[in-house]
């Protein structure tokens, strides 16, 4: 279980860091294995900051993040990243355009699987690609610009799966994808939870969060305003902010005027 407890992040801003801004204020929730938790909020609500803290790209100002009861700060980074990995918003800037896209796999091999023979490694890659429903012939040995955004995002998920991770931080991973391909990546995430993967699904799109997650956290200005099972949050929102957010979502079959 990945658990956040009283996590706060204060950024120093201004010319000489003279002012402070609290990006995340006393956030606490947990992700169980095999569960998708969506973190919903508008821009500036601190949702990406939470993702970065879980990935240890930023240290929390106060509070603890623990995994199976162990404070993550006591785990070495190398070991930690075998358990927790992230995929980010823009698939095109996640890759170095100079190198072939499958270099992301080779980099993993250099660090974690040095002794693994070629044959075993190829089999491992094929298994990971199969799990994200990509055919090796279509994606291996290609440069990033030759692949579509959906393929690139799925390659990054495959890369994370190579490490047998337990938790995945998915920070707006489908916001840049087209409507016809984004749903496939979303379904893929939902399928992965059957393998016991816990997913922190960060999004600003309420419909996507609603579609995929078991539990939902709604953030507003760094504070958690609503946290609970997805049905409850979407059907009986308790906080006024959640209600306002839900009322603003453009729905395909109902117009705003009719709803109000």
């Amino acid at each position: 279980m990945l658990k956040l407890d009283g996590v706060t992040k204060v950024y120093r801003i201004g010319a000489f860091g003279g002012q402070t801004m609290t990006a995340v204020d006393d956030a606490g929730f947990e992700i169980k294995p095999g569960e998708v938790v969506s973190l919903i909020g508008e821009s500036g609500s601190g949702k990406s900051t939470i993702g970065k803290m879980v990935l240890r790209l930023l240290p929390p100002t106060s509070g603890t993040i623990s995994i199976d009861g162990r404070d993550v700060r006591s785990i070495g980074r190398r070991d930690y990243y075998r358990k927790v990995q992230g995929v980010f918003q823009d698939p095109f800037s996640s890759y170095n355009p100079v190198f072939k896209a499958d270099r992301v796999f080779a980099m993993i091999r250099q660090v974690y699987f040095k002794g693994v023979p070629d044959k075993e490694w190829t089999a491992k890659i094929e298994a990971a690609l199969d799990a994200v429903r990509l055919s090796p012939g279509a994606v291996l040995n290609k440069f990033p610009h030759q692949l579509s955004g959906g393929q690139l995002q799925r390659l990054l998920i495959a890369r994370a799966l190579l490490l047998d991770i337990e938790y995945l931080v998915a920070d707006e991973i489908i916001s840049m994808l087209d409507a016809s391909t984004r749903i496939d990546v979303l379904n893929l995430l939902a399928d992965l939870k059957q393998r016991g993967l816990g997913v922190l699904f960060i999004t600003h799109d309420l419909a996507l969060g609603n579609y995929i997650s078991e539990r939902t956290v709604v953030l507003h200005k760094g504070r958690i305003v609503e946290y609970g099972p997805t049905d409850a949050v979407f059907e009986q929102p308790e906080h006024a902010y959640t209600r306002k957010l839900l009322a603003s979502v453009p729905q395909l079959h109902t117009k705003w005027e009719d709803a109000s």
Partner: protein
Amino acid sequence: MTLEVDDLRVYYRTLKGDVQALDGVSFGLRDGEILGLAGESGCGKTTLGKALIRLDGRMKHVGGSVTLDGQVLPIGDDVKMNPYRFKQVSLIPQYSMSAMNPTRKIGRMVRELLESRREKLDLDELHSRLDLVELPRHVLGKYPIELSGGMKQRMVMVISTLLNPSLLIADEITSALDVSTQKAVVTTLKGFRDRGFVKSMIFITHDISLTNQLADTIMVMYAGKLAEKAPASTVVNAPKHPYTQLLISSLPEVGVRYADKRLTGIPGNPPSLLKPEPGCRFRDRCPLAFEKCAEDPPPVEVEKDHVVACWKAA
């Protein structure tokens, strides 16, 4: 008819040849009509929007004509197009954050802009429009950097429509905004039309659910061609083109859960537009494709105002 576009073709020049980004699109726009232009990235929707106001250096007007209020727009000629811009055709750019001159206070920038068009600034009118979009009047004394993203977006909307253009093009103006700001922007745009600030509007977006909140008519494009054009409710509830049908069914809505109902995407990718093969461009991904699809499907009006370019629908 405010706008009449007839068989418009705009290609991009590249080293490998011409990319046929807009390949024979025809449609009309009535007075007071808002057209929502939807489609995936690379379908030509931004190219169409740009073609109506300014072709950039890589774009080439290959054929077809654009008529606005009975006058043929010289869209292939950058200089001759100048008198029409801002007065007859105006644009709200996608990134309002970078659309304003950062070295000028907003009021001075607006005045200079109008002077460059040999127009006089009507300060009362400007004030009343600021009130309408709920911007305080003192923003005119501020620099763009002092405004928030939503405020900048509204300011740009006011500037773009100041001379009451006949046609307004809004290109993905909401994609960088939060849902609640999005709603406010869309409502304001509708207000501009209702008050007659703009006669008609083309609202370009990839988000069909959002388009449906605003548009009277929705036009769906695929790979540089028109796929379907119909009144908004028809496109959403009874689409005829297989692409539109698949696109609509792949959209998750609040209330749809993975556990209850599994949505599916459309397998495959759009074709390359460098040297596209003749025939329907959707046929490789289309579940209904048959031999006839090797020929180009002409856009056919199957019902009143409902145009579909598909052999199966006609």
